[in-house]
């Protein structure tokens, strides 16, 4: 064990060197995640020390040679270890931890700021995310766009099973529970893309319940918001596609200014979104057409039922139109 322990820890440290990633809690991009990462590194350092000292003591005690302790010495050694290690050490550690942890928790819940927070409603479906901005009247699917350095108030709800909203680079998670609305404060301190994922097991599609977070500068965000509020103008060449869309799709899917369906994801910005099972790729007419032809048998039974009636040319038309719908 002597030779093994440092080896294992060294390899761990080596791994931690590579602690970045689009969903890594160790690469914080906002004040809440920052605090949590600091808490982690502090606890990691202290507890590693405790573990090494404890193991060292045990190994030393195992190897110690010489006469066994006499009765009265043994008594003294016992109370010294038990009171020192069993009472004082944990009490002090707990006091320090709580002194750091409780105020940190309070700060994370409120995330004080001069700006009024931007409210975004997160609605968890099986197995995709719907985000709406009640003040601006915008709804998007599977993509969360937020302004940098602005407090965000996520109001999470669901009408099916329990899910959890989680963007590790921004902060902790919150469960979305039927019958309740839970809120979470987040803030991003840098622009860019990151990844969020459902963290509460929600059934077959749990692993794919992913969303992309796009952090924009404040001016870019304002422009984005404005674009999202304008109705989509349908070019003449896509009119036939829109007609087919109305017949087969519009009951569930809305497209701004075109249809007002509910239940399925809003398709207004579909061409700017990652694919469900291939998040590195954007939707193109080919990928949409493929999906329409064979919707995923496991995760998309609704589309499957609706699209079985589509002719190949109708699929092609709709895909060509949807490809033009960018954010």
């Amino acid at each position: 064990m002597r030779w093994c322990t440092p080896l294992v820890w060294l390899s761990t440290l080596g791994l931690i060197g590579g602690c970045s990633g689009p969903q890594s809690a160790l690469e914080p991009a906002g004040p809440a995640a920052d605090i949590i990462a600091w808490l982690w590194w502090g606890m990691f350092a202290f507890f590693t020390l405790v573990l090494l000292v404890m193991t060292g003591l045990w190994l030393y005690a195992m190897q110690r040679r010489g006469e066994p302790a006499k009765a009265e010495d043994a008594e003294r050694i016992t109370s010294r270890w038990i009171i020192g290690g069993g009472l004082i050490l944990p009490l002090i550690s707990i006091a320090i931890l709580l002194a750091a942890g409780i105020p940190a928790g309070q700060y994370l819940i409120t995330l004080p700021s001069d700006k009024t927070p931007l409210r975004i409603d997160a609605h968890a479906h099986r197995w995709w995310w719907e985000f709406s901005y009640p003040d601006a009247g915008i709804t998007t699917a599977s993509q969360l766009t937020i302004p940098v350095n602005t407090p965000i108030a996520i109001h999470g709800h669901t009408d099916n099973v329990i899910h959890a909203f989680w963007v590790p680079r921004l902060g902790g998670k919150i469960d979305l529970i039927p019958g309740r609305v839970n809120t979470l404060r987040l803030q991003a301190s840098q622009t860019g893309l990151m990844r969020g994922q459902c963290a509460e097991f929600c059934g077959t599609g749990h692993a794919h319940m992913v969303f992309q977070v796009q952090v924009l500068s404040e001016s870019d965000f304002a422009a984005w918001q404005q674009r999202q509020q304008q109705a989509i103008r349908v070019a003449a060449e896509h009119e036939p596609a829109v007609q087919t869309f109305h017949t087969h799709c519009a009951q569930c899917h809305s497209v701004r200014g075109v249809s007002n369906g509910s239940g399925g994801p809003d398709l207004s910005g579909i061409a700017s979104r990652p694919l469900m099972l291939l998040p590195h790729q954007r939707h193109t007419s080919t990928s949409i057409e493929q999906w329409l032809q064979t919707p995923h048998p496991r995760f998309d039974s609704e589309t499957r039922a609706a699209t079985s009636a589509l002719t190949p040319s109708a699929r092609e038309r709709i895909a060509a139109w949807l490809e033009t719908l960018t954010e």
Partner: protein, 838 residues
């Protein structure tokens, strides 16, 4: 009887064997002896461990590479659900119970556990429940909503197949076994220790098991209740967890973790007990800080019931409450640290030797301390918000459970193997096994902390490349296979040792506790004669104890009466008070469990009438079992004892049966309190809870049914009081009268219930009331039947002035039943209008 003559000694033991010995062939199914039952638990648990381990290998293979499609999500969800379920319910708890069942009587100087037929019944329930549950895996319809079965994912809407039903019914069935073992261990430890073994002389392992057994008694009923409610929701549409009808899915989480957190300590305490047993032996000196450790055990038991909310920090509970549970969760580090430093002090003071058990104990220390430390991290609320439900948590609890349970268990198995088999293991193979498991484990799970911090959630069947999760997952998978190779090596070692191991000499490790004074392997009766034991280290103080026990120099040396006997003693001082006579081998536990399995299977198939019939059959079998007690010809018709010995327990007023009833009622009241908790929780928290305008239960009718019940209880208490003064005139008529009065109450209750416009499928309010009243019906009905049976037994002469002990037991049931009735009355009828007024 004492004898130095070898021929006479052989005859002496031959006589004992005739009374205690185990039959072979088919009749082996009738064995009730704790040594056999304990070994059966251990072996069956080992088989389930292998199945659970196989599932773990599937999980690690699937996750080894990004986008791996070895398993579909449907199958993967079944696999991880069953991995957790099997490891927790079919391996960890039963194995620890099995070890306790095997060891406890031997450690406290008893010949068997106090309710041997219950041990056998528990084993069969465990085996049948486990088979039913595992069978679902073969059919590919295993439960797939996680071992935590969160509603509403586990509801009939989102899990329409039979998977959740397998879990809910199978686990409840297995839990019957856990609770019965819990009851039996508590009563055995409190009431059957050998002469003069006071509480402060008990080996530490016995203290740990006492705490574990009590925690099972209190901790399992919330989950049993939760499972019953969820199954009622799934099968009959009672909406306890459906928001729209006034239920709340969070209630399930509370009930589950009210069980789930104590469960962790139910596993850890016996494991720590093994460590506390082994370390002193291999350091050749008494444990340091015995009193500190006892205090730590008791504290852990209490604190562990106040932590469950730390599994729910992300459900949106007020921060103040979170801070409270955070502090409470960290507090549990104190009793744990006390034990760790007491072990350290023991090693420091002694001259330790590296034998295989000690190696596992060292591995335990490193892994468990690391797991405990990450546990303290997780108790810090903001950190938990980040890593909750990630692989960090998976890594943490594997450190705690493998480190805190599997490693000590292996230490214990290596330590007691000579006791099971009479042979020693091969030291070098044992070392190989240990190091492979230790290295494989650490490789798998240290790295998994990082996977979690990099953002990988739990319970995902796959992940995409490029998230930084590929390498850590691959390392974890490689590590898990090294660990599997280590487990295989250990198993091989253990298998081979039964055949090739060198014969163990007496007390091979130089231990101090009584279990090493039996022969190796032990006879069914453990001790031919029961020694006095007013010390913590009987074998260190009296090394030739085994010889004097075998030669018959101690107590209870007669066997020609044909009764299985052991001491019944005072719970505190261990002073002998009576002779407990134990039942012999019987088919009833096997048939009873078979009928209960029938209930379980017919419920699964939705044959509800068959289920009812089966339930009646199992009730009849259990009552038949209770019939063969006391002065019954198959129990102890003849009460003669050797001059100077105390009386048989069935001839006293305070036998172990009374204790059995009290501990059972503790478990029962834990179930009832959970139901009350559900009522108040839904009332105050559920988003759509509503009281109907008029209470569906007629307050006057319900109150009137309580009158005959209350009179019956007062009457019964009076009868028992007279019985204690040996006044038994018209005892039979009194009992018939009480039973009849109970019947009047029962009929009134059924009438009230059927006349009330309850709509349990429409509102959670009515659903909870219905369950309360069904619970009441069950209790009142049993009280009536048990009392009628007592009257019959008086008539038969099995109960009376000379054998007064059974009515005392039934009395407690009546008092409990009446108490439950009036509590239900208060919370259903009285409180709601009072609340409105306030």
């Amino acid at each position: 009887m004492s004898t130095e003559d070898p021929q006479a000694a052989q005859d002496f033991h031959h006589q004992f064997d005739k009374v205690w010995g185990n039959p072979r062939g088919l009749l082996a199914l009738t064995i009730v002896n704790h040594t056999t039952i304990g070994l059966r638990f251990l072996i069956t648990g080992g088989v389930f461990f292998l199945i659970g381990g196989l599932l773990a290998m599937l999980i690690r293979t699937q996750l080894a590479l990004p986008g791996h499609d070895l398993l579909t999500p449907e199958i993967y969800n079944q696999v991880f659900t069953m991995h957790g379920t099997i490891m927790m319910f079919l391996f960890a708890v039963p194995v620890m119970e099995g070890l306790a069942i095997y060891l406890i009587p031997k450690m406290i100087g008893a010949r068997d556990l106090v309710f041997p037929r219950l041990s056998a019944f528990g084993y069969w329930c465990y085996l049948f429940g486990g088979i039913i549950l595992t069978f679902s895996l073969v059919l590919e319809i295993a439960p797939a909503s996680g071992w935590f079965m969160y509603a509403p994912l586990s509801s009939s809407v989102f899990s329409p197949g039979r998977g959740s039903d397998f879990w809910l019914l199978g686990i409840t069935f297995v839990e019957i076994s856990a609770v019965s073992a819990g009851v039996e261990l508590v009563v055995s430890i409190m009431r059957t220790r050998t002469q003069r073994m006071a509480l402060q002389h008990m080996p530490l392992f016995v203290w740990y098991i006492l705490a574990m057994a009590l925690m099972i008694v209190f901790g399992f009923p919330p989950l049993i209740l939760g499972s019953i409610l969820l199954e009622l929701e799934r099968a009959a549409g009672l909406p306890f967890f459906t928001v729209a009808s006034g239920g709340d899915p969070i209630l399930w989480q509370h009930l589950f973790w009210l069980f789930g957190h104590p469960e962790v300590y139910i596993l850890f305490l016996p494991a720590a007990g093994i460590i506390s047993t082994i370390i002193p032996i291999f350091c050749k000196r008494p444990i340091a800080g015995y009193r500190w450790i006892v205090l730590a055990i008791i504290t852990t038991g209490f604190i562990s019931f106040g932590l469950w909310v730390h599994h729910m920090f992300t459900v949106g509970i007020p921060h103040l409450a979170q801070a409270f549970f955070s502090a409470a969760s960290m507090m549990v580090a104190i009793p744990t640290a006390i034990q760790v430093f007491a072990w350290l002090a023991t090693i420091w003071n002694g001259r330790p030797v590296y034998e295989p058990p000690m190696l596992w104990a060292l591995g335990f220390l490193f892994i468990f301390v690391a797991g405990g430390l990450t546990g303290v991290m997780l108790a810090l609320v903001p950190f938990d918000w980040q890593v909750h439900d990630t692989h960090f948590v998976v890594a943490h609890f594997h450190f705690v459970l493998v480190g805190g349970m599997l490693f000590p268990l292996m230490a214990g198995i290596y330590y007691w193997l000579p006791h099971f088999s009479g042979r020693m293991v091969n030291r070098s193979r044992a070392r190989w096994g240990f190091w492979l498991v230790f290295i494989g484990f650490n490789l798998t799970f240290i790295v998994m902390h990082v996977t979690g911090l990099l953002g990988m959630p739990r319970r995902v069947y796959t992940y995409e490349a490029g998230l930084g999760w590929d390498i850590p997952n691959l390392i974890s998978s490689v590590g898990s296979f090294i660990m599997a190779a280590g487990v295989a090596t250990c198993l091989l070692d253990i298998f081979l040792h039964f055949r090739f191991g060198e014969r163990a000499k007496r007390n091979p490790w130089g231990a101090d506790t009584l279990e090493w004074s039996t022969s190796l392997p032990p006879s069914a009766y453990n001790f031919a004669t029961l020694p006095e034991c007013a010390t913590r280290h009987p074998l260190w103080d009296t090394p030739d104890l085994q010889t004097t026990i075998e030669q018959g120099h101690h107590d209870l040396a007669t066997i020609d009466h044909g009764r299985r006997e052991t001491w019944g003693s005072d719970p505190v001082t261990g002073k002998v008070r009576e002779i407990v006579h134990l039942p012999g081998n019987s088919w009833l536990p096997f048939y009873g469990a078979l009928a209960t399995a029938g209930v379980c299977i017919s419920l699964l198939c939705k044959f509800y009438w068959v289920a009812l019939a089966m339930a009646l059959v199992s009730l009849a079998l259990l009552l038949r079992w209770s019939w063969e007690n006391g002065a019954h010809p198959r129990a102890a018709p003849n009460a003669e004892v050797v001059e100077g010995d105390p009386p048989l327990h069935s001839r006293t007023h305070d036998g172990p049966g009374l204790w059995g009833m009290m501990v059972t009622l503790l478990a029962n009241s834990s179930l009832f309190l959970s139901l009350l908790f559900g009522w108040f929780y839904l009332w105050t928290v559920a988003p759509a809870w509503q009281f109907p305008e008029h209470n569906p239960i007629n307050w006057l009718a319900l109150m009137l049914t309580g009158v005959p019940l209350t009179i019956a209880v007062i009457w019964f208490v009076g009868v028992v009081r007279r019985l204690r003064r040996e006044l038994t005139d018209h005892l039979q008529q009194h009992l018939w009268g009480i039973s009849a009065l109970g019947l009047v109450h029962l009929i009134g209750l059924v009438a009230t219930l059927s006349a009330s416009p309850l709509t349990p499928q429409a509102s959670a309010h009515d659903a909870v009331i219905s369950v309360m009243l069904w619970y009441q019906l069950l209790h009142s009905g049993l009280a009536v039947i048990l009392t009628a049976l007592q009257a019959l037994r008086v008539r038969k002469g099995y109960v009376g002035k000379m054998a007064p002990y059974e009515p005392v037991v039934v009395e407690r049931w009546w008092v409990y039943t009446a108490g439950v009735f009036w509590i239900i009355y208060a919370v259903v009828i009285v409180l709601p209008p009072l609340w409105e007024l306030a």
